[in-house]
């Protein structure tokens, strides 16, 4: 894939959305329900990416002790939820993942 092409498209879309009303005025209007629905898009996208990564990291569902992704990602979510500190959550989850994968369950 051409990364610059990918980035150019992302740039164009992002700036056009941000410029929509500010530059092109109020010819566009959003119905109220869409306004509210849009706030759920970022958590929905992130969950849609995370959940399969945790439950089926290799493509098939794997809820077993051999799946180090599951405890790691659960810990990341819990620490972030409790402390609100993203970096801390990531570091702690990496420790859990590393221990699980290479410490507790060799092979």
């Amino acid at each position: 894939m051409n990364h610059w092409l990918a980035i150019s498209g992302m740039m164009l879309l992002t700036v056009l959305i941000r410029a929509s009303f500010l530059v092109f005025g109020q010819r566009l209007t959003f119905p109220g329900w869409l306004n509210r629905a849009l706030h759920y898009v970022p958590p929905a996208v992130l969950s849609a990416l995370v959940v399969p990564m945790a439950l089926a990291p290799a493509g098939t569902v794997d809820i077993s002790l051999h799946n180090a992704y599951l405890p790691g990602i659960i810990v990341a979510a819990l620490v972030a939820w409790k402390s609100g500190k993203t970096l801390l959550a990531i570091v702690v989850s990496f420790v859990v993942y590393g221990l699980w994968r290479w410490g507790l369950l060799p092979g």
């Binding site: 929509s20 509210r36 993203t86």
Partner: protein, 238 residues
């Protein structure tokens, strides 16, 4: 002279009011830079993405999709959906900016992030928008400079840890996304949206064109709306 001073004061005020947001965004800049390198972007494209796109969540999601070799139309559609909320910000700020020349409105639109929106909207609502373009510019430049700086730090970190990709890039992505999303789920409709999206994404695994992602977003949006509606009805009936 006084006008120049006034502009500078507004610019500085905008910057100052944005400082808490800078602190919050910094770790994401570092993580973005590190992950971008681990996902196979060159340092030029990783930094280029921060320079040109300048949108945290879609940059994270973009890097993860690029790393997975996703087709361009899917990448762009996802970017579009994820950023669509910025149109709301654009609409909210339009009444204040309506009479400003385009040479102001274009760049300020380019720099319109969640953080700058929050700072600028609060200011305009409480104190009015007189000379507000300088305030807005101050906030924008602070966010932009901060994001670029921490992206570069992350990129150098990614390059000095070349083993990161083997060490579990997938996991780093997953942990980052989980840590970003978890604190957003304290309100029940948002939690419902996340659960619905997660379930649909599980069921739709492997659908072509990442349709699973689009369906999951749709399910999340609809669930969030329904739960919000239910909560409102309950409030009214009590």
């Amino acid at each position: 002279m006084t006008q120049a001073l006034n502009r500078r004061a507004l610019l500085l005020e905008g910057t100052r009011d944005t400082v808490p947001m800078l602190v919050g965004a910094a770790p994401f800049g570092v993580i973005f830079g590190t992950l971008a390198i681990a996902a196979g972007l060159s340092s030029a494209t990783a930094i280029g993405m921060s320079v040109l796109v300048f949108a945290g969540s879609s940059q994270f999601i973009g890097v993860s999709l690029i790393g997975a070799g996703t087709a361009l139309p899917v990448l762009w559609l996802t970017t579009f959906v994820v950023n669509l909320r910025h149109a709301l910000y654009s609409a909210t700020l339009l009444p204040f900016a309506r009479d400003w020349p385009l040479r102001w409105r274009w760049p300020l639109a380019f720099w319109l992030t969640d953080e700058t929106f929050a700072v600028v909207e609060h200011r305009f609502r409480t104190k009015g928008a007189e000379g507000g373009q300088w305030y807005w510019l101050g906030s924008s430049l602070a966010m932009y400079g901060n994001w670029l700086l921490w992206t570069v730090v992350g990129v150098s970190l990614g390059q000095s840890l070349p083993g990161l990709a083997n060490l579990g890039l997938d996991f780093a992505m997953g942990a980052t996304f989980a840590a970003i999303v978890a604190p957003q789920l304290k309100r029940r409709p948002a939690l419902g949206a996340a659960v619905a999206a997660g379930v649909v994404a599980m069921l739709g695994r492997g659908l072509p064109y990442k349709l699973d992602l689009m369906l999951a977003v749709l399910a999340g949006g609809v669930s969030g709306l329904l739960l919000e509606q239910l909560a409102r009805r309950k409030e009214q009936s009590t």
